[in-house]
Symmetry: C2
Subunit: 238 residues, 2 copies
DNA sequence: AGCGCACCTAGCCATATGGACAGGTAACAG
DNA sequence: CTGTTACCTGTCCATATGGCTAGGTGCGCT
């Protein structure tokens, strides 16, 4: 039943055939691209998917650029990706947007390590159609989810749907963009610097530091810098 | 709680033979127990190890209790484990200590998600002989590491060795135990409560809250509560 | 009994912080 | 031109925080 595991780096089974934008023949397999920086996860996902009937992993990628190249080269039906590929989470969101625009045939399913209200909502806006948590998925769910996503349906892990619904009803406009400068200040706060030290460090006044922190606090719904650091961490900003 | 997960093929390779404390015959395989709450990781690690010559995965476990049962039942040569099995990291460390005491034949290799100076040093003290980061390992390293650990050698991922050395030379006595009360206060700090609110919440005075925070700050080497939250998160305390 | 440890309390003081106000600039899109 | 956005600055004030010293209790261990 197993023994399906191929070589680690994985020979690419097929040269890309004609990839029409419409639905493919029911007999052809769902072609999947797996993107994760972690080998163990890549191999694990590959092993799980390849024991799912009608699904085949055509390539793996470990960086944002590699994902783009691989999508372009293989035109997969589904991209299973952990957004945390570089040190810039925002980059992952942009990537999703770009792929849904340029390769509408390729559906995106996020396989995340952590649940971030921030990221989920943003991802949905950018055309992502699936969001699962690594720690939550059962082995068989993953295969099913991929096929469901390919059919254009939305798949969300338990609790995630509720989260999104709750967020949309929330008073604060979540998903509000965190600016570069704010992030810069935030990182220094996390390192325990005072407003004065931060100000001196990046050549702005203490007033401005406080200004950025006020905005950050509003965007993340925090009222103390300790909470700010906590929520920012949970949101994958640090 | 959960049961021990058996092999997918369903065959339990061997009823446990006599397991002598000394080295086993060079022809017998290194018998591995994989413990991780995440299916993808378990399958990934299993796939990687099973393609390594001379290594066989005999069981999987997803909870602390299941690990203990499985070690007792299978007497594996190596336990590959992510300490983050429950919501109590400390429990994982205790588990390691117990296993090295009661089953000295079984070597322990930690396969962690995050690098925590705190945990690494503590783990070493309790007889753990390997520490790798999921995000760092190459596929072939994992197999090698398991065999190396079985031979009684210590394996540490890149950077981890330096970390340990640096820690030991550090002025602050790292690995100093964080008490229950401190942890309780810490969690409330992370949620953005003021000292006064925390005091009222757990029926102690503000002075005591500050006392606990002072001790925590010393133990984690932080000087501001934002930094405290940051480091505590990195140390897996939150 | 003596010891260490977790836990709790008090007071003092300089400084940091949060929250509010009311502005300014530059770049860029419609 | 007008509106939006990121970015920057200032002032005001109440409160929170960090750092310190100097105690107290109860518990388990030797």
């Amino acid at each position: 039943m197993n023994e399906v595991v191929r070589t680690a780096t994985g020979a690419i089974p097929l040269a890309r055939p004609d990839v029409p934008l419409g639905r493919r023949s029911p007999h052809s397999k769902t072609r999947v691209l797996v993107a994760d920086r972690n080998v163990i996860i890549r191999i694990g996902v590959r092993a799980i998917l390849e024991r799912t009937p009608g699904v085949a992993v055509v390539a793996e990628a470990t960086t944002y650029d590699a994902v783009l190249d691989a999508v372009d080269e293989h035109g997969p039906d589904v991209l299973v990706i952990d957004l945390d590929l570089g040190d810039d989470t925002t980059r992952g969101l942009q990537l999703c947007e770009e792929i849904t625009k340029r390769y509408p045939h390729t559906k995106i399913m996020i396989l995340a390590s952590t649940l971030s209200e921030f990221v989920v909502v943003d991802a949905m806006r950018r055309g992502v159609t699936g969001y699962l948590l690594k720690d939550d998925v059962k082995a068989d769910e993953l295969g099913k989810a991929v096929r469901t996503v390919q059919d254009g349906e939305v798949v969300m892990g338990k609790g995630i749907g509720n989260l999104v619904a709750h967020s949309l009803g929330s008073h604060r406009d979540i998903g509000e963009h965190v600016t570069d400068r704010e992030l810069e200040v935030l990182k220094l706060v996390a390192r325990g610097l005072s407003n004065k030290q931060i100000a001196a460090g990046i050549y702005i006044t203490e007033s401005t530091v406080k200004f950025h922190l006020q905005n950050l606090s509003r965007k993340l719904g925090a009222h103390r810098r300790a909470e700010l650091v906590h929520k920012a961490t949970a949101a994958g900003l640090l």
